[in-house]
């Protein structure tokens, strides 16, 4: 028995060391791969040679609490490179390996309030900051100070990096189920956690929709020329139908207790909220101007989920 135990512990120890080495090899591979993506010289800017890397645990040292945004997705590794050019403010590039292209899109979709300068697979420029995604990477490019030439330099550097990322990635599949009519494409948000939902649209201070790392959510804006104000659609994918049903019940109980099983209420601002669960999904329409509009959106989403969409 003692011999058996001894071999068991040896096995565990070997597996542990092996696991660590696999992990550190993976990290080292990621670093090498990321370094290749950022040119040493670009648009007369040169790397200052002091690249920094941060993982999920150490990234707080670099960006304080803002790190939680990236950690709320599958963020793996951050590389920070400073580009310098005489008589110009330095330009900072932050390259995030998000693990999956879906999460690279997700972190990009978090904010799209500026102009789209057409960099990578999706981009946003505002306040001196370029944000874009391509493949499994999300990238920030910004100058330490803004001057008249900053914008052009930032965009050119961004385009250079986007070009060196050869592989494109897929957007989350969940987006395919959104009804297209009146959809504001740049208003689509993809995320996992309820804190993120509250960032876009405050629903409740508790996690009444049971969102978490294993749920995928898309929050979309709809604007019709015929009605006033935006209508919002929230589509959540749970690991299975049972979890979706439980989340739906929790939402109805906390958000629309008077709705009972109908999942439909007129809110205090006079607009409508309708919720339904469907297979492993929960669909919620918020701020619809009429009950019919909310039902229409729910119906169209269900059709798409069943593969019957137009």
């Amino acid at each position: 028995m003692r011999t058996l135990l001894f071999y068991f512990f040896v096995l565990v120890a070997v597996m542990g060391i092996d696991g660590l080495s696999v992990f550190s090899m993976e990290r080292s591979d990621r670093k090498t791969e990321m370094k290749k993506l950022l040119p040493v010289e670009i648009e007369a800017y040169k790397s200052d040679g002091k690249d920094q890397f941060y993982d999920r645990n150490t990234t707080f040292r670099y960006m304080d609490g803002a790190a939680e945004l990236y950690r709320s997705y599958g963020f793996k590794l951050l590389m920070v490179r400073r580009y310098v050019k005489p008589n110009h403010p330095s330009i900072i590039v932050e390259l995030f390996d998000m693990g999956l292209s879906e999460d690279a899109f997700g972190v990009f979709s978090f904010e799209t309030e500026g102009e789209d300068p057409q960099v990578g697979q999706g981009s946003d420029y505002g306040g001196g900051l370029l944000r874009f995604w391509k493949g499994k990477y999300f990238v920030n490019v910004y100058a330490e100070q803004e001057t008249s030439s900053t914008k052009q330099d930032v965009l050119e550097i961004g385009k250079g990096i986007a070009k060196s990322i050869k592989t494109e990635g897929q957007k989350p599949k969940l987006l395919n189920y959104l009804p297209k009519e009146d959809l504001i494409e740049r208003g689509i948000r993809y995320f996992h956690l309820h804190q993120s939902l509250n960032y876009h649209y405050f629903v409740a201070h508790e996690n009444i929709l049971h969102l978490g790392a294993r749920t995928n959510s898309v929050f979309a804006h709809y604007l019709s020329s015929q009605t006033k104000g935006k209508t919002f659609l929230l589509l959540i994918e749970y690991p299975n139908q049972q979890l979706a049903t439980k989340a739906f019940q929790s939402f109805v109980k906390a958000f629309m207790p008077e709705a009972s099983s109908s999942g439909s209420i007129r809110m205090e601002n006079g607009r409508w909220a309708v919720a339904q669960s469907h297979q492993k999904y929960v669909i919620v329409v918020l701020d619809a101007p009429f009950h019919e509009k909310a039902e229409e959106l729910i119906h169209a989403t269900r059709k798409n989920l069943e593969g019957r969409g137009s």
Binding site: N57, F60, M63, D64, G65, A66, A67, E68, L69, R71, E94, E111, E113, G126, G127, G128, L129, R131, N140, Y142, Q195, N198, Y199, Y201, F202, V203, A204, H205, E206, N207, I208, A254, F255, M267, E268, N269
Partner: protein, 298 residues
């Protein structure tokens, strides 16, 4: 134990949420009728239009004057040094818990103004330290008998706002463990032995405030306001509640619409309701205003 009721968007629409994160809460004496004056917590708002000069530099002398006026008013003393003597003893070991966040740190001018008054009380220089991220390894903070908590007011991605309550997060070695649930357990840090009962004064620097967050580090120069003020009090929860309301009003003034806080600053409410650290109900907070009040919003 009674389970707390879930606060939803509909509570905001009804106007039934009263804390700092309620969009309908109003800092106005008109709604104070059912709250007795004796129950109110006093916080001091002091502003000076010359706190920042034309070149964007903070004026050390003006900041000192603002601090002195606010502390004197808070403690009902004419002489600021006498007022500080009500807070600090010459035998105290004093940690000035600052904030070094690169984009909007606690102004050095304010740190110096505080340190000067602590020295004036008679605390030797060797028993005073100013620190943020190194407090756990700092011998002064580790043996401190008194803390002064000072930081700028800003929106924060995960906690709604960064204020006095949150500033003590560096007293724990695993800050990320407090980021869950919109940072609701932050006030629990104030019960840690290194901190408990030591914070004699809280100061929210409103010299520059960040009222909206954007960008890779949740910072964007466009959303920083030269408010030129300080908010001072003994109750960190009351200061944060007023601070959250101010940031909301600044967003309304800037965007022309009521943009809700990005993350509900639930931790302020929880600090009051669960941890009993202070008062979050704006109706129970008296804001005493001193100095220049043009565009003060509150």
């Amino acid at each position: 134990m009674k389970k707390s009721r879930v606060i939803t968007r509909r509570d905001f629409l009804r106007g039934t949420v009263y804390t700092a994160f309620a969009t309908s809460a109003i800092l106005s004496s008109s709604i104070d009728k059912d709250v007795g004056a004796e129950e109110k917590v006093k916080v001091i708002l002091v502003r000076d239009e010359n706190a920042i000069d034309q070149q964007g530099r903070i004026n050390q002398a003006i900041v000192q004057k603002m601090l002195d006026r606010a502390v004197s008013t808070l403690l009902d003393e004419e002489n600021p040094i006498q007022a500080w003597k009500k807070l600090i003893k010459p035998t105290d070991i004093v940690g000035i818990k600052s904030n070094v966040w690169f984009y909007l740190p606690t102004p050095e001018e304010l740190e110096m103004a505080i340190q000067k008054r602590v020295l004036n009380v008679g605390v030797p220089k060797k028993n005073i330290s100013i620190d943020d991220r190194g407090v756990l390894d700092n011998p002064i903070f580790r043996s401190s008998t008194a803390l002064i908590n000072v930081r700028p007011l800003r929106t924060h991605f995960w906690s709604g706002i960064g204020g006095c309550i949150k500033n003590h997060i560096m007293f724990v070695s695993t800050p990320w463990l407090y980021h869950g649930d919109a940072c609701s357990p932050l006030a629990s840090i104030w019960n840690k032995p290194l901190v408990k009962g030591k914070t004699r004064l809280n100061i929210l620097s409103l010299i520059r405030t960040q009222f909206y967050g954007r960008g890779p580090h949740y910072f964007d120069r466009r959303f920083v306001s030269d408010y030129k003020g300080l908010l001072i009090g003994k109750d960190p929860v009351a200061l944060d509640a007023v601070g959250a309301r101010l940031l909301q009003l600044q967003r309304i003034a800037y965007f022309g619409e009521d943009r809700p806080l990005d993350t509900t600053p639930k931790h302020i409410f929880v600090a009051d309701e669960k941890y009993k650290l202070g008062v979050s109900d704006l109706r129970r907070i008296e804001v005493v205003k001193i100095g220049w009040m043009e565009g003060s919003l509150i």
